[in-house]
């Protein structure tokens, strides 16, 4: 089988990318989704706060996805549900399996990777103890509660203050559980401030910063955890250890882009984001393979996922038409205080009106300046009251700047305390 564009993943990124690819002139588009429903993680994110940017309206996750599903249903886009992609080759051959078609081999003109991310598991944390039942990642618990209607437990401790953990603290409280505390290893929360207010403060759930779990107790079922304060090197302080009885431990300790297929396709991965390196056209190191959404880098707002995915869809459609890869000439260098940027390379000819560079900072900065330089010549300085690793930042660089610097080699982004140079 041949398809102009194959989108892998039917979550928010895949939906927006497929619609945009179609609307940009690719009429032969297929979405492959491993679940029985499109919408991805939005289906279980029943809370408010989606769509303020895209629809200027506060929507729940399912409502946000329904907007895209409605648009999708009006377009002749092929949808394969319950279908697992098992391989993608550098030649853009996609191999997938399901129980009705058997093995599907698709020669794709372009591939859009939109597989999203998965939660960091307990195994990544090295917490000593047995392996009793009652330990869940926050998103798994969210699926049990919001989709299946099962409660994971009654007395709950949450480790990690990422947004899903905070949201689940409120959900479980509303469903009748007792959420005893949320522990955060770092001295600041990884979640959005609004979630601390409306998910923890509203229900008087304590947030213990600079705390972690040092032991999980219980053999068949969790019976409690030992918690401890950590020092400035994040090492537990023994004498602060304390036993907390509970029957459930939720882990909300980070998300990792799911790039097994990308690796199989030979896509170069940025170790800082755990996602592909991409150009400003969202093209990976393999010509004709594009990436968007949480498979590329973990976002905090779905609105930005949709925006990025729309661009990926458009550029993938352009690629199918021209069969030309985005020859990039400019490198983006992340300097002090900037952990990574997306994109990491730029073809100035393919910038529309602005180049959007998204990035995260390495630590919390108060009253600092985001500085952007072209070949070390400072062009933009933005004062920021607060910058935190938990919130994605962006800078917009007008096309005109690139026209004025035709020999540009590199763009530098850094966080500075005072005006430099």
């Amino acid at each position: 089988m041949r398809k102009d564009i194959v989108v892998i993943g039917g979550g928010p990124a895949g939906l927006a990318a497929a619609i945009s690819a179609y609307e940009s002139g690719s009429t032969d588009v297929m979405i492959i989704e491993r679940e029985q429903r499109l919408g991805g993680i939005l289906n279980q994110c029943i809370h408010n706060g989606f769509g303020l940017h895209t629809f200027k309206q506060e929507l729940t996750g399912p409502e946000y996805s329904e907007r895209y599903l409605k648009r999708l249903s009006e377009l002749p886009i092929d949808i394969k549900l319950d279908t697992m992609v098992i391989d993608v080759t550098p030649q853009k051959k996609v191999i997938a399996i399901n129980s009705s078609d058997g093995i599907l081999e698709i020669e794709a003109g372009a591939v859009i990777l939109a597989m999203g991310c998965r939660e960091r598991p307990r195994g990544a944390l090295n917490i000593p103890g047995f392996r009793p039942s009652g330990i869940f990642s926050a998103g798994t618990a969210q699926k049990f509660v919001n989709i299946d209607g099962y409660m994971p437990g009654k007395e709950i401790v949450i480790l990690g203050s990422g947004d899903i953990g905070l949201i689940m603290a409120r959900r479980l409280t509303l469903e009748g559980a007792h959420v005893k505390m949320v522990l955060e290893l770092l001295p600041y929360s990884g979640g959005l401030k609004r979630n601390i207010v409306q998910c923890l403060n509203d229900f008087a759930i304590p947030l213990k910063l600079s705390h972690t779990v040092t032991r999980i107790h219980g053999k068949d079922r969790v019976t409690g955890v030992t918690i401890a304060q950590v020092d400035s090197e994040l090492k537990p302080i023994r004498k602060t250890e304390q036993y907390v009885a509970c029957d459930t431990l939720l882990l909300s300790v980070g998300l990792i882009p799911e790039n097994e297929l990308s690796r199989k396709a030979g896509v170069a991965i940025n170790l800082k984001t755990q996602g592909p390196f991409v150009s400003n056209t969202l093209e990976t190191s393999v010509p004709g393979i594009f990436a968007c959404g949480n498979v590329l880098h973990v976002h905090d707002l779905v609105d930005y996922v949709s925006e990025e995915a729309e661009m990926a869809g458009k550029y993938a459609a352009d690629y199918v038409k021209s069969n030309e890869s985005s020859a990039t000439t400019v490198k983006i260098e992340t300097q002090q205080g900037v952990r990574y940027s997306v994109p990491s390379t730029v073809n100035p000819d393919l910038i529309d009106k602005f180049l959007v560079i998204r990035f995260r900072v390495t630590e919390v900065f108060e009253n600092h300046i985001v500085t952007v330089a072209f070949d070390d010549q400072v062009l933009q300085q933005r004062q920021k009251r607060i910058l935190t690793p938990g919130e994605m930042e962006q800078v917009l660089l007008p096309k005109a700047w690139f026209l004025k610097h035709p020999d540009l080699k590199s763009i530098q982004i850094r966080i500075a305390k005072e005006e430099s140079q």
């Binding site: 029943i46 408010n48 303020l52 729940t60 209607g149 959005l192 609004r194 207010v197 905090d300």
Partner: protein, 124 residues
């Protein structure tokens, strides 16, 4: 007596820090907001805090066992528990359309509970 309170706006993920000056239980000044909703929120939050609620309700005969629902407006923060308890025991019948009112005027708040997901009837 001036009373100055710092609150975090919850209208959007920006989470602006707002400073509210109160005198004799009246808001005299709000600073720190970046949009009109922030100012409105600050005035409400110090005198009459309200929240929208999202939760789930069980469904009989649907393609999913639970439907996500929300209040179609905000309710006083003090009524959250009462509202949640009032929803206990309610079981809906499939099919359900997104936006459909599933419980009208919950707890005499004038606010309805509406579905946020479409649930199809399960074909046996």
């Amino acid at each position: 007596m001036k009373d100055i309170r710092e609150i975090t706006c919850i209208n959007c993920p920006l989470g602006c820090t707002l400073t509210v000056e109160l005198e004799a239980n009246e808001v005299i000044k709000v600073t720190g907001f970046q949009c009109p909703r922030g100012e409105k929120y600050a005035r409400k939050e110090v005198l009459d805090p309200r929240r929208s609620i999202t939760t789930i309700l069980p469904v009989r005969g649907g393609d999913l066992p639970m439907v996500s629902v929300k209040t179609d407006g905000d309710i006083p923060k003090t009524k959250i528990k009462e509202l949640i308890l009032a929803l206990k025991g309610i079981v809906l019948e499939a099919p359900i359309q997104e936006g459909q009112v599933v419980v009208a005027d919950v707890c005499q708040t004038g606010v309805n509970i509406i579905a946020t997901k479409t649930i199809q009837k399960q074909t046996p």
